[in-house]
Each structure stands twice: as C-alpha cells, then as structure tokens.
C-alpha cells in the first residue's frame, strides 16, 4: 500500500488560478537571483495543469541549451531528447520547468565547480551539495516540482541530504542513459529528487525500463523485497563527525522500534574511494576528449590554427577541476601504470560488489549521507581535492557497485537539514520507497520556501 502523499496527483487534481504558471515564473526568477538553482528557465512553462519537472543540465532536452555546466558546451542545443525526458513528456502530465545548476560535468561534491554556484535552500551562506546542486535546491524551494537528476558517485544523495529532500539513485542500468552527457559511463545513473518518496517512485516508473538506445540499460524486474534488519558499517561510521553521529544515533533509536539494528564490519567498504576516483577519472578523460571546439558547444573561431594547436586552444575553456581530472585520467590510462591503477580498481570494484551483495541479502545498509555537518561555502572552498573526495565516503560504495540507494531527511542540525542514506540489493529499488514512505508517516520536513503553493 503506497502512502497517499503524492503531490503530483494532488496538484493535477487541484483547482489552480488561471495565472498560476505566470506567477510561478516570476517567483522563479527572484529565487534564482539568490539561490541560483536554475541554469535555464523555460519561459513556456505550464500547460493544462501539468506538473513541473526540471532536468539536471547534463540531460539533453531538445531545443534547449544543455551545457553540463561547462563553457565547453556553451550554445549546445541538443537536436533530441534524452530517453528519460522523452518519457516525461510522453506521460502527458508533466511540464518542463528548466535545467538545473551543477558542478561542471558533475565534477564536485559541493556544487562549487561552476561559474555561479547554487546555494543551500535553507541558508545561502551554506553549500548546496553537488553535483546535482540546483536539482536539490529547486526541490527544496518549490512546493510542486520533481527533479530529474544524475549521480556518478553521490551527486544525488549529497545535495538531496543537504537540502532536506528525498534523493533516489536507481540500480545502474534501470534508467536509460541515452541523452545524458557522460561523466563516467560505468557509473552514471539518472535518478529523481522530490519532496516525498511517493513522488520519486511515480517518476521512476515513468522514466525506467529498457531502451534500444542504451545497450547497458537492463530489462531486469524491479522488486520490492523489504528487509527487517538495518546494518551500520563500523569502518564507515569511524569517519563521522561526532555531531552527525549523535543525530544519526537518535534516528537509529527511532527506527529500532520497527527494525533490528546491527553494527557490522565490512572492511571492503572502506576501500571504495580510491577505485571509484580511478575509474571515474579514467572514463571522464576519454569522454571529455570529444570536446573539440567546433562540432558542438563552444566554437573556437581561429580555424586557421594548426590542427593540434586549435584543439589545445579551444579546450582552454574547461574549468580547473575538469583539467585536473583529464590529466589524472590520462595518466591512469598510460600503458606503464594501467594495470597498477585502472585494472586494479576494476578488481577492487568486483570485490566490493561481491561483499556488499552478500550483506544486502540480509538487510539494508544505513548511514548518514555526509560525514560532517553542512559546511559554509567559504569552508568548503578551503578543502583540498583529497579532503573533498573523502566527503563521499558514504555515497561512493553504492554508486561504485551500482546499488540503488535513497536519501531521506530526518531532522535538522543548527537549522540545516540532515539526511540518511539507505542502500539495498541491485534491482530491489522499490523496497527503498516503501521504507521511506513508512518513515514519512511520522516525519515531515519543514521547508523555508514553498514557491508555487496553491
């Protein structure tokens, strides 16, 4: 029995003023000036009472500039819709609201690797989280809206948690990646953010399923096999800030009424960050090779330059983190060290998948989404690259292994939302919605903004 808090159905059936979408557009512009959730707002929003959805700026929408937050893709107007977008339009009751802000190509944990970073929906001094920063901020500020987002290593879970919304990352291959501007093909997953679990489930049902345009897309049945045990992993919890640990402990006390809680040791999970970044950078460096300054996106005007000089000049438009990842990815794929880093990372991934699959047969894995309280923008800017990567300790294991996971809000710490992450077996995605719906019966997040209320 699904919980009846689907705002999508509520909205579609509600009487709305005739100028509803016009007013909403005006409110959105004002919102964008302070929080920057949108890279692009669709001025043609709204038709026949349809429900607004946004897309992360790395998901192609026909006729709308789609840049993945990169100057290298400036002016790129896709001539086609991503499959997920095509299915949203095909469902008939959704209207396209715009494209959401993100770290360039998805390279970031806090949403800061972009020209104008999105700000946290609860306090604009704080980070929004990344890389689907705008998707989370839009979800936390708009009363009626769902976001199509994307995760490679935690890009849905982290911003969703920091903005107090539900963030769902499906099993790898459950949703087609056709039309997604790739970061790392073996890790990228299109997912959903919403204010309730039921809305995410509804959108997941619209966008999922086999697609002839994505050969990695799976036809496997999605199950709803609930578990009665919640595992916490000792090796991961050791790296958690005491303030988050104590809040999370209170959540476990509440959940302990319905679930058996057990702390276990899974050493393999503490080995996930290195293979993740090795695989992600190796794949990213090959994906970014196609941005050449003339076929699409940014056009470098000096076509009289020598062949290699032209590409080198044109590719200056990449941001610093993108350059860093291209260089590292190229290094990792070098003949002399490929075995040492890349092939080894794939083996460690195999080991982690095997170990996690074993654990997840008997229960869910639960953890905080982020090991520290939400940092201020100024604090996050001071972190070194490896300190940044360490922030992904909880979100990387499920992303590396393609396991479905969901982030849900469970409270606030000093006025900022905090979220927990639940992981289950591959293709058991529905059980996550069931779990969170039960949690939502006794908890609802109070948002600071509710734009578009009726």
């Amino acid at each position: 029995m699904w919980c009846n808090v689907e705002s999508i159905k509520e909205f579609i059936n509600a009487e709305k003023p005739s100028d509803y979408y016009e007013r909403l557009l005006a409110e959105l512009s004002a919102l964008n000036r302070e929080y920057h959730p949108f890279n692009l707002i669709n001025e043609g929003l709204g038709k026949h009472g349809a429900f607004p959805f946004s897309t992360k700026a790395n998901i192609c929408v026909k006729g709308f500039e789609t840049t993945a937050g990169s100057k290298m893709l400036k002016d790129y107007i896709p001539p086609f819709n991503a499959t997920a977008v095509e299915r949203m339009f095909g469902a008939g009751h959704f209207t396209f609201m715009g494209e959401t802000n993100m770290d360039e190509f998805g390279f970031g944990t806090f949403g800061l690797n972009t020209e104008t970073p999105a700000r946290n929906a609860f306090d604009s001094d704080f980070v929004a989280g990344g890389s689907s920063s705008g998707a989370a901020v839009a979800t936390a500020t708009l009363k009626y809206h769902v976001a199509i987002a994307e995760s490679t290593g935690g890009s849905i879970a982290t911003p969703a948690a920091l903005n107090g919304v539900v963030g769902f990352t499906p099993t790898y291959g459950a949703v087609s990646r056709y039309g997604l501007i790739d970061y790392a093909n073996s890790l990228d997953k299109i997912g959903v953010m919403s204010r309730s679990s039921a809305d995410s489930r509804l959108v997941f049902d619209v966008i999922r399923g086999i697609d002839k345009y994505d050969t990695t897309c799976s036809a496997a049945e999605i199950t709803c096999s609930g578990r009665s045990t919640l595992f916490t992993v000792k090796e991961l919890m050791e790296h958690t800030d005491p303030a988050i640990k104590s809040e999370f402990g209170r959540l476990l006390d509440k959940l302990g009424r319905d679930y058996e809680i057990r702390e276990i040791s899974v050493e393999a999970l503490s080995k996930a960050i290195e293979p993740y970044y090795i695989i992600a950078m190796a794949e990213a460096s090959t994906n970014l090779a196609k941005y050449n300054g003339y076929k699409y996106g940014f056009q470098y005007p000096e076509t009289n330059l020598k062949y290699n000089d032209f590409f080198t000049e044109a590719r200056s438009e990449f941001g610093m983190e993108a350059k860093r990842r291209i260089i590292l990815g190229t290094f990792i794929r070098s003949e002399s060290v490929k075995e040492k880093y890349y092939t080894k990372a794939l083996s460690v991934r195999g080991m982690i998948i095997r170990e996690m699959s074993k654990v997840l047969r008997d229960g869910y894995i639960i953890s905080p989404a982020l090991p520290i309280p939400t940092p201020k923008v100024s604090e996050a800017e001071r972190l070194s690259p490896t300190q940044n990567y360490a922030m992904d300790i909880f979100t990387i294991p499920p992303n590396l292994g393609g396991f479905p996971h969901i982030t849900f809000p469970y409270g606030k710490k000093s006025g900022m939302p905090i979220g927990a992450q639940l992981i289950t077996s591959q293709f058991n995605d529905y059980s996550l919605f069931e779990f969170v719906e039960k949690w939502e019966e006794g908890f609802s997040m109070q948002y600071r903004h509710n734009l578009g209320s009726i």
Binding site: A220, I278, K295, Q299, E313, L328, F331, G350, S384, Q426
Partner: protein, 89 residues
C-alpha cells in the same frame, strides 16, 4: 609528478596551462596519486568488474535510421557545403 611527465600529459590531452596553473596542478596531482597508491594495499584476485551489473551486449540490425533533427544540429554552427568547419590538417 615530474615536470616532464605533466608536459607529456598536457600534450596527450590537448590542454594547456600557465606556469602558475602548472605548479598548482602538479601539487594537486601528486597528492591525488599518492592517495590512489593506497589501492596497492588491497589484496584481491577478483575479476575486474567493467560494469557494476551484469550487462549483456545487445546489437541492433545494421540499417540506416533517420536522425531526428539535422537542421537543429546545424543551428549556429560554422558550416561549409554541409560539413562542419574545423581546423586545417
């Protein structure tokens, strides 16, 4: 990372960097590679997992399919006789 190695990587990946950027990149990259080196401590004989799930190759018939919207693809592009204009060879 040696300066020579960074130059090789920049050339291979068709990127350029100013002297100050190079200094920053070398420091960062060295820190990250030391971090990656920890992977050698993991003892495993596991088969490499190229995909997280069991991906089965699906092939389609080798036939020409019409592209959706060629005109939109050309929009705003520098074109010559139906070709994209790129650098000279």
């Amino acid at each position: 990372m040696e300066e020579k190695e960074l130059e090789r990587l920049l050339k291979t990946s068709r990127l350029k960097a100013s002297e100050s950027e190079k200094k920053l990149i070398r420091a960062d990259v060295s820190e990250i590679i030391s971090f990656f080196d920890r992977i050698s401590l993991v003892d495993t004989e596991e088969k490499p997992a190229y995909h997280p799930t069991d991906v089965q190759s699906r092939l389609r018939e080798d036939e020409v399919l019409p592209f959706q919207d060629v005109e939109l693809m050309k929009k705003g592009r520098k074109m010559h006789n139906g070709y994209f204009v790129g650098p000279r060879l």
